[in-house]
């Protein structure tokens, strides 16, 4: 039994108060009484240490009793005064203090807060140049780790703990570069890049183009891929296994190859491209040819260096993700539900619409999110097909290479692009998990 809710609230309040007080002491009072100033950064760091030590104590008040807690607080104060006053508040000493605070706190053998304290110290001492992202990553990981340990104890399976501990390396490889990258520019920088009078428009257009082409390509993949997924799940036929494997081929082919393949098929000078252009022009002719807006729209259709080419590439690379998810979703719908629907008088299409589709809906939606994400991240093939008009990734590459291969302004655009697509990605996921699939 740890802290009650009420204890926790008072504890948090007291700890914040103490931390704030200490911050003021170190930052303002110290110089006032003639000690060397420590600066806001170190003061804030020490305040975090104080806060964590405080929480560490108050979380355990019900187990320890008030007297022990008082002792703990006094001990912390004594330690603080000893290091900060006796050792003359030198900066190096100020940083040694938390180390002792950690040992002191560990003597009281308190729960998870100790871990956070350790993380703060590790981040500041071992990775002084990347303290913030390291601290973020470790703190997130540690929070999850506590939960995993709890679940593993419940399941009585220590292997879960070992496996999750191994995954720290995975987290470091996959998420650290991104976490580190996102904090490289201040919000002011990003706002300036995005709304800049001269270059901002180009950035906004490119990111907008990325968003709408991915949406269109996802819609196309949905219309074309969903029926195929259903056939692969429900029909048992010779050659099914081959088709099943073939679906994944776009994942394995390097994007530049896909780009070249598309160019060789519908690049400006190929015969197919010319046929397609004629086809669209004749449709445009039905709407009055060059003299009307619709007619003109049909007139200009081409793939190389144009939006249709971008969408073509996106559909090609993202289709496996949608089809796979849809197949899993369809497989989860018991065929007997469809049979019952049929006996009740609904035909195959009515059954698909009323029963199969709503029940597979969530899985299909997840597939759409994946396909959308894959489309928006596609660069390799689009770079070959259409450097202009630019999408987010192609613009970033152009900025990057124009500065002789240094991140420079590309980094700001890249961070904006990452944040925009990430937030839409998360938003869609939340939306998907909340969505209730009902029809009629």
């Amino acid at each position: 039994m740890l802290a009650t809710r009420e204890n926790l609230r008072t504890g948090l309040a007291l700890s914040s108060l103490a931390a704030a007080a200490q911050f003021l002491v170190v930052w303002l009072l110290w110089p006032a009484i003639g000690r060397p100033a420590s600066g806001a950064a170190i003061s804030a760091f020490l305040a975090i240490v104080a806060f964590l030590c405080g929480v560490n104590g108050t979380l355990n008040v019900s187990r320890l009793g008030r007297r022990a807690l008082m002792l703990y607080a006094l001990g912390y104060a004594a330690l603080f005064i000893f290091f900060m006053l006796y050792l003359e508040g030198h900066v190096r000493h100020a940083l040694i203090f938390p180390l002792f605070a950690l040992f002191f706190a560990s003597m009281f053998h308190f729960g998870p807060t100790l871990g956070y304290l350790a993380i703060v110290l590790i981040a500041y001492f071992l990775f002084p140049l990347h303290a913030l992202p390291v601290m973020l990553l470790l703190a997130l990981y540690y929070t999850l780790f506590i939960q995993v340990v709890r679940a593993a104890r419940k399941a009585d399976n220590y292997l879960l703990i070992v496996f999750f501990a191994l995954s720290l390396l995975f987290a470091a490889i996959v998420f650290f570069p991104l976490l580190h990258f996102v904090v490289q520019r201040t919000p002011q920088d990003l706002v300036k890049t995005f709304f800049d009078k001269v270059d901002g428009a180009q950035v906004r257009e490119a990111i907008g183009r990325s968003l709408y082409t991915s949406t269109i390509s996802t819609a196309i993949t949905l219309v074309l891929g969903l029926p195929l997924a259903y056939v692969l799940v429900r029909a048992d036929f010779k050659g099914r296994a081959i088709l099943d494997v073939a679906i994944d081929i776009p994942i394995m082919i390097p994007p530049p190859i896909i780009g070249i393949a598309i160019l060789m098929l519908v690049g400006s000078s190929t015969s197919i491209a010319i046929d397609i252009r004629h086809f669209f022009e004749s449709i445009g002719g039905l709407f009055g040819g060059q003299s009307t807006a619709i007619g003109r729209w049909f007139h200009g259709v081409k793939f190389e260096g144009a939006v249709p080419g971008i969408i073509f590439a996106q559909v090609l690379v993202s289709s496996p993700f949608l089809i796979r998810s849809a197949m899993t979703a369809f497989r989860g719908v018991d065929p007997r539900l469809e049979y019952v629907s049929r006996t009740l008088g609904a035909g195959p299409l009515g059954t698909f619409r009323r029963i199969t589709l709503p029940l597979a809906g969530r899985g299909i939606f997840t597939g759409c999110i994946l396909a959308w994400g894959r489309s928006i991240s596609e660069f390799g093939s689009i770079h070959l097909i259409a450097q202009n008009p630019p999408t987010g990734p192609t613009l970033i590459y152009t900025l990057f290479s124009s500065k002789g291969g240094t991140p420079g302004p590309a980094a700001s655009v890249a961070i904006i692009m990452a944040l925009v697509s990430l937030s839409i990605f998360i938003m869609l996921h939340v939306l998907g998990s909340r969505m209730i699939w009902r029809r009629d």
Binding site: D334, R336, L337, Y339, V340, S341, R342, T343, L344, G345, A346, G347, G350, R354, I355, P358, L359, W437, R438, R439, D440
Partner: protein
Amino acid sequence: MLRLENVTRSVGDFRIAGISFSVEPGDYVIVLGPTGCGKTVLLETIAGIGRVDEGRIFIDGADVTRTPPEKRNIGFVYQRSMLFPHYTVAENIRYGMHVRKLPETEQKKRINILAEMLNIGRLLERSVKNLSGGESQKVALARALAIEPPILLLDEPLAPLDPPTREMLRREILKMHRQLGTTILHVEHDQVTARVLGQKIGIMHNGTILQFGKAEDVLERPDSELVARFVGMENVYRGWASAAHGGAEVKVGGMLLKSTTTLRGDVGLCISPEAIHAAAGGDRQWANVLDGTVREVSDRGSVFKVMIDVQGQPFTVHVSRREYESRPLAAGVVARFGFDAAKVHCFKEGG
């Protein structure tokens, strides 16, 4: 009403072959068979889920062999109710009527009638996800009945239920059958249910129907060893029948049993465990009297199952609880048992 002619179909490893029988209007037909004998495939085939390889199916005289399920107007209830999880109870029941575009008032009327009959009125607005097994089955029944099908197919609707619920639903189904007069074809592996509900019984084994007829005919007078075993005749033997004064005598091992059979020569025979009575001290004269050593006694609730041994031939006897309590039989005791000649049912051997 429903007629099957030589229906044959294979689905994966399952195969049903040469199935022919007919069901009259208002019948309650049970197809009894062990798990994996093709009962579900048979029902699905009748409902139109999957095509037959051979044979024909008629409903009301019309050939429906190639008719898709949505045009057959057959009610179908799966073993695990298969309710649509994204709909409420009422929406599930409404489904078939909604698809048929029945007027709203008619839909409401039927839902109310069915809900009252099956006692599920208070569930109507609930999600189907938190229903108990018995409730789910009743909703599935209501959903199938809402389209007013002339014939209802039930696939072991009682199997997933616990015994008290099973008993309750059995009564509800019987009540529903009497009230609506719907023709029912019900496949089942449980003998008790078959005895309680079936007016006609078909015995299914390995994808074929072994015997089909009136319930009492099939249950009391099985025509083969397999059927005898399925319907719970535990005393199944082979013997040699010959004429004797006033009937027949069947030689089984070293015993001579009196029987009323008209068969002669090599026969199979069976005696229901209920037909054998612990006879010692009884006032009745039994045609057949045996002295047997009790081997094993097990308590089966309302009866005690007593295994006895008569001249090396094992017999199973069901002794009623009352009878048993007045005169307990322990292993090793030699006791006398008796049964009528009419209870020694013979059938052609090798049939």
